[in-house]
Amino acid sequence: MAKQVQIVEDVTVRFAGDSGDGMQLTGSQFTDTTASLGTDVGTLPDFPAEIRAPAGSLAGVSGFQIHFSSNDIQTPGDSPDVLVAMNPAALRVNLKDLKPNATIIINTNSFDLKNLKLANYDVSPLEDGSLSGFNVVPVELTKLTVTALEGLSLSPKEKDKCKNFFALGLMYWLYNRTIEKTLQWIDSKFKTKPEILEANRRALKAGFYFGETTEIFTTRYDVKPAKLPKGVYRNVSGNEAVAIGFVAASLRAGIPLFLGSYPITPASEILQELSRYKDFGVVTFQAEDEIAGIASGIGAAFAGSLALTTTSGPGLSLKTEAIGLAVITELPIVIVDVQRGGPSTGLPTKTEQADLFQAMYGRHGEAPVVVMAARSPVDCFFASIEAAKIAIEFMTPVILLTDGYLAFGSEPMKIPDFDELPKINFEFRKDPEGFYPYLRNENFIRPWAIPGTPGLEHRIGGLEKKDVYGNISYDPDNHEIMVNKRKAKIEKVQMVVPDAEVEGEQSGELLILSWGSTYGAIKEGIRKVAAEGYKASLLHLRYIHPFPKNLGDILKRFKKILIPEMNKGQMATIIRSTFLIDVIQFNKVKGQPFKVAEIENKIYEVLGGENGK
């Protein structure tokens, strides 16, 4: 039976199941296939902090959301149009997020008494009418999978495990995708396990053909390719983008990359990813603790490597003293903080932007550093290169803030040519003539003289240094001179910070100031209200310290400044104190990113009805 294909612009799908059901894998396969068809994609996994909560329990639900569109999109989507629920717990956990009338594809085989009870259902939601506002599609996913695998000598448990591929096949059919890319992936992934390979292939195909033949679906949908710039694309998550960004920076700078790091959620993937790049000469030192992570990095920077340490909030706290050491020794190191909900252990797998104050001010003494924030998974790549460039060119620590939302979210990246990447300009000091470790150039930058260079033997350290010469100095005037010079150097970084650019009207009623990962939701929110005739401009800050030099002028051109942030107003406080202007705060600390709808509503509220039209 030929089925009707309906073209839609924009769809959000969420796969949800038990943490052992392979939902992350299913989601990433759907993403790869969809992205490779030229559709723009934004994704976000949502998994529990527990590695394996009891099977079927609410705590064990793992989800993966994919937003795909024929438009340029910036977020993983607010509310799913489609939920694939592998068990009752997955249904219960995700139901509240769905759009009205959303489609729910349910694996009815898992709706037995035991699983219903685990999900706190006294009566099956399939029978009590509670899903009447949705388009429920019951499918015997497990049974159909096992039937498709008849004749294979796998255990019932192994066969059951293939049901995610059945679900994936069905979704491929429903959204008019092809299954070839996933078949290839299965072929290479399970090369050494031919039975599993065959089982997964069959399950995937069975799901796809089930869509074709069953009477349940009368319509399938298609999302056409987005109008993306020409080029070759790949998918990146934020953590992955940081990792390859620093490898690219190391290639650009021509010096090896050294990562000193201690595993911490949600930053560990950067360490894991970089540990694969031995062929690039990358050294990943999995240190005994967070402090050793940065301390080894400082040692490596002293010895001439591009030094990096990666962490999250609690780890940044532990690194604080060592960052001060990098400030006073004026060595280049990048500290990547993948922010998570805090304080303390807080919400390790959830996102937040509440480390901004810590990044800006979290040190004893006058210890200014450069602070940057990436705005999207792709931007994590470019921001990493920029951070490395500034660290090396200015001989300074740089803190690069990302967050859990960016770390795990993914989107397609147009692969830039190597030559398009910013150049990293520096030279190791070689000439002993006139060398002094703290003899600065016109931008207050001291030379990078590394051990192994004859004639440049010198000592640096955490004690205050005599201006120019670098010996220990307790002289009161000298201390003030050095504090001022270190500060002046960081201010000089403004030279390489691009001017801030306003998206939309260049002056007017409302400017929304975004930083970090809120960019996507804010941009989409502004686009939505614009469609209704409301005007709001957007200024995104990638460089937070120092700010772009034109920021103050821009802020003066708007009547209202709105700052949405996933904290209690840290950027708002910095803007107020720096520019002596008031701003409107919009704060959310739920461990979740802003939804586009929340931004829209806030804009309407701030503009007060017709004001902004």
Partner: protein
């Protein structure tokens, strides 16, 4: 340094003076650190490295001022972190000879974690522990090596802590060269330093060092002429363990229990003495030796407790990189960006 940048031709044979920086040494008069500095400068020409390839790293404390007084590269770090900083230096450039100057508070208290992990990994570092059993720079609080019951500014009624035995700790954690020396035994210290320099792997030397201000005389029973022979056991490879002013006492190993024997009592002879094997693969005997300094009635051993070879962390790391590069080729930007699913957007 302000006025002097030495440009030595590499062929020139260094002297002790070549390792002396122009910074005034500011330890208290009579501090044992002076001797350590002098012995290091004296032996540095024999370390087998050009001066520019030697890096001294330290933490915080009196001992940690050490790098400033050497004319090599130096890094005065933060409290306790010297081993971690030094590990980064070594991993970044395997051709450097990296030394750590540290104290009992710096390395065994706040830096304990970094110390045991550097030992565990057998990073090719030379760690020189200045053990004066007191916090000097903070003016006289007890340290993790202070003897139990010690009265200090922060323990007016005596400590109730048990101290660390640094030799046991280092051996237990995996250091591959473990030695002890005395600030007042220059010749012995020179030998230990030279041997540590030549060792490939984590070399640890504990130097008993006098703090004349806050713990004066802590080791005089080991270092002064009249008491030294009775209280110090000099460990030498392949030699029987003998001590005493007249070399009339020995250590016998009764299965695993050490016993002091009188070589003149007619019942024992030198043939009963435990013969020291520095290269003993089995840590048991080294551990028994390390314990002697804690046992009443036994002399305190100085010398090399144990030295053995095992692959170093930095060495194996470099090997792994070379191996992967020989298999996969050296990484390129194209490989970095395209070794994953890609697709082309052409319209």
């Amino acid at each position: 340094m302000e006025n002097k940048i030495d440009q030595l031709a590499t062929e020139v044979k260094y002297t002790a003076k070549d390792f002396s920086s122009d910074i005034d040494v500011k330890w208290c008069p009579g501090c044992g650190d002076y001797s350590i500095l002098a012995q290091v400068q004296r032996t540095s020409p024999d370390f087998g490295e050009k001066r520019e390839n030697i890096v001294w790293v330290s933490g915080i404390g009196c001992s940690s001022r050490f790098p400033y007084y050497m004319s090599t590269y130096g890094f005065h770090g933060i409290h306790g972190r010297a081993a971690a900083i030094a590990t980064g230096v070594k991993l970044a450039n395997k051709n450097l000879q990296v030394w750590v100057a540290t104290g009992d508070g710096d390395m065994l208290s706040i830096g304990g974690n970094h110390f045991i992990h550097a030992c565990r990994k057998n990073v090719d570092l030379k760690i020189l522990l200045f053990n004066n059993r007191i916090y000097g720079l903070t003016k006289g609080q007890y340290s993790p090596t202070s003897e139990k019951g010690k009265v200090t500014k922060s323990s007016p009624y005596g400590t109730v802590d048990w101290p660390f035995n640094a030799i046991k700790l280092a051996d237990g954690a995996g250091a591959t060269f473990i030695a002890r020396s005395l600030d007042r035994d220059p010749k012995h210290m020179q030998e230990m330093l030279t041997r540590a320099a030549k060792h490939k792997g984590l070399a640890f030397i504990e130097v008993y060092q006098n703090c004349p201000i806050f713990n004066d005389g802590a080791f005089f029973h080991l270092s002064e002429k009249d008491s030294k022979p009775e209280n110090v056991l000099v460990l030498e490879h392949n030699k029987p363990l003998v001590f005493g002013a007249n070399k009339d006492k020995g250590i016998k190993l009764d299965v695993i229990t050490p016993v002091v024997i009188d070589l003149n009592d007619g019942k024992h002879s030198i043939n009963d003495c435990w013969v020291h094997d520095e290269f003993d693969d089995n840590p048991t005997r080294g551990f028994i030796l390390a314990r002697l300094s804690d046992l009443p009635g036994f002399p305190t051993p100085i010398g090399v407790f144990r030295q053995y070879n095992k692959p170093t962390y930095d060495g194996d790391y470099v090997k792994q990189i070379e191996h992967i590069q020989s298999q996969k080729g050296v990484g390129t930007y194209e490989k970095l960006m395209f070794s994953t699913t890609t697709w082309e957007v052409s319209t």
